[in-house]
């Protein structure tokens, strides 16, 4: 396996607040990687650094071996990195279909006809097709989160970054979401998934990393990481005495 995404010594601070400190890890081609950590640990900031929404202070980010550290956010998306936002960022004055269409034409660079087919297909899979002609601004929070996923998929990513898309779902919806993400993986897309709903995460990912105070504090097989002392202490807030 070769690394599709690599972070090497990536650091970022806002004054005294460190959001990423010497982070090094890689995502293999076709792999699904889970990311956990307490609120404010720097998980979303890490996505901002990978997608170019924030510039890094130090370190290197590579996509399929190519240094993309200084590329614009738009260029990184066209090269194959797409994300969902934790706080949904819909194009409120456009319909659900058009939101997806933006990603398919601008991010994936498809022609109008191809883009229309892809959007209809993706919206069908994410369960938003019935809402296709509704203005995105009038969607509920859960629908907005589904729109985030749909839009990211319509950009036809090689690396898909998912930021807390399972929160607030019922058990059935959660199972459907797991199915959707497994399907996406089947098509060869590599995935990094930040999630607090740990059972959803564990149903999909091959590997887990734990982040706290901008640092990677654990990495490895999901079950081993979940059972580790660091996770119980820092992430779950359980004091591990003795």
């Amino acid at each position: 396996m070769t690394a599709i995404l690599e972070l090497e010594g990536v650091g970022k601070a806002f004054g005294a607040v460190v959001v990423a400190e010497h982070q090094s890890w890689s995502l293999q081609q076709g792999e699904a990687l889970g990311v956990i950590g307490p609120n404010g640990a720097g998980k979303t900031s890490m996505f901002n650094l990978i997608t170019g929404a924030l510039p890094v202070d130090q370190g290197t980010i590579r996509l399929a071996g190519q240094d993309i550290t200084h590329w614009s956010a738009a260029r990184r998306c066209r090269a194959g990195i797409a994300r969902s936002f934790q706080v949904p960022q819909p194009f409120s004055g456009m319909t659900v279909f058009e939101n997806a269409y933006v990603a398919a034409t601008q991010g994936a660079g498809l022609s109008a006809g191809e883009a229309e087919d892809l959007c209809l297909d993706v919206l069908e899979r994410t369960g938003l097709l019935r809402k296709g002609n509704v203005m995105a601004g009038s969607l509920t929070l859960l629908e907005r989160k589904r729109l985030e996923l749909s839009r990211a998929l319509c950009a036809r990513p090689r690396v898909l970054l998912l930021d807390e898309i399972a929160g607030g779902l019922t058990e059935n919806e959660c199972q459907a979401l797991i199915g959707t993400i497994r399907d996406v993986r089947q098509t060869g897309v590599s995935i990094v998934w930040i999630e607090h709903v740990v059972h959803a995460l564990l149903a999909v990912v091959d590997r887990l990393i734990v982040i706290d105070f901008g640092r990677k504090i654990a990495e490895g097989d999901p079950q081993t990481v979940m059972d580790s002392r660091e996770v119980r202490e820092i992430y779950l807030g359980i004091e591990a005495h003795g």
Partner: protein, 337 residues
């Protein structure tokens, strides 16, 4: 796979009716020299030019998020370029009108590079400073009358067309033509790939850039297109006025304040808004103008009430959540029940 009966289309029954209706209205207006009075034709010409200015400002501020309060820079530039090309270079007025927008684009490119470094309120102030620099520069051109301005000589006016009727009709047709040209340009731009990007930027810049849209490039293109067409409108305005002076050409009241008023009451960020706003503005002006200063107070009150009660403007209210459109721009899925 989704249902095969699903497809995507942009025309609706409403948009087909409204496009046909607009076509008929433009045809009837084009015949105005034969059925309307001279005063009415002047008014129609002025309305046309304001529709063009408002549509352009809306494209810039409403879609690209470039809230400029200095578009009078390009109106004035258009006036001075037109007078310079006809008076000093001896060009035919029509040739001057064709060259004016190109000069507007050439001038706008370095200005854009400079002012795009500014954000939000600083950008707005920057555009105003640029227009003041243009005004002061124009006042230095003594060949065009310096600070007091200059009139268009009879020879240039006569070169346009023979006879008063034809001359006035031609000036009117040019104004009507530029309103149609600008509206069509905005319409086709919004329907294009770049238009999709532009609407995305209008709604959410963060999401737009993370979905592959180059925000700087898109805004740059919009700024240049807007500047070029505003320069053309400016040239036509001062062809109608037959006289140009720095204060009239670079008037922020006439070419920006009223234009912003029009777009805000009509509905910012929609193609219909500026047209409806212009009609409302002229309806108010024609009914209230006799009241003197009270007219401006009334305009101000209307603007404040609309901003407080209907921030998306009159068209925003009518459009509603269903997103009615008079111009077929948005893509709808057909075949959903």
């Amino acid at each position: 796979m989704p249902d095969t009966k699903l497809h995507v289309s942009r025309t609706t029954r409403l948009s087909t009716i409204s496009m046909t209706l607009m076509f008929v209205v433009v045809l009837v207006l084009a015949c105005a020299p034969w059925w309307a009075s001279r005063a009415d034709i002047r008014l129609f010409g002025e309305i046309s030019l304001y529709i063009a200015l408002a549509s352009l400002w809306n494209l810039l501020a409403g879609y690209a998020g470039l809230v400029s309060v200095g578009q009078q820079a390009y109106v004035g530039l258009g006036g001075y370029v037109f007078f310079g090309l006809t008076l000093l270079a001896g060009l035919n007025p029509i040739a001057a009108l064709l060259i004016a927008p190109l000069i507007g684009v050439v001038v706008a490119a370095p200005v854009a590079v400079l002012i795009f470094r500014l954000r939000g309120a600083y950008f707005a102030i920057g555009t105003w400073v640029v227009s003041e620099v243009f005004r002061l520069t124009a006042a230095q051109v003594s060949a065009l009358g310096g600070g007091s301005g200059i009139s268009l000589p009879v020879s240039v006016v006569n070169a346009l067309a023979q006879g008063r009727f034809l001359r006035e009709a031609l000036a009117y047709w040019l104004a009507l033509g530029v309103a149609v040209l600008v509206t069509a340009a905005v319409f086709f731009l919004l329907r294009s790939r770049r238009g999709v990007a532009l609407m995305a930027i209008r709604d959410n810049e963060l999401a737009a850039k993370s979905l592959g849209i180059d925000i700087w490039v898109t805004k740059f293109v919009v700024y240049l297109v807007t500047a070029g067409l505003t320069t053309l409108v400016g040239a036509l305005i001062f062809l109608q006025k037959l006289r140009v002076s720095p204060d009239a050409a670079f008037s922020s009241n006439d070419w920006t304040a009223f234009v912003i008023f029009i777009v805000v009451i009509g509905g910012v960020g929609t193609i219909e808004g500026p047209i409806i706003g212009t009609l409302i503005y002229f309806a108010l002006r024609e009914t209230l103008a006799d009241l003197g200063t009270i007219y401006l107070i009334a305009l101000g009150i209307v603007a404040i009430v609309i901003m407080l009660k209907a921030p998306s403007g009159v068209w925003g209210l009518i459009r509603g959540r269903r997103g009615l459109e008079l111009f077929p721009i948005s893509r709808r899925i057909r075949g959903l029940d």
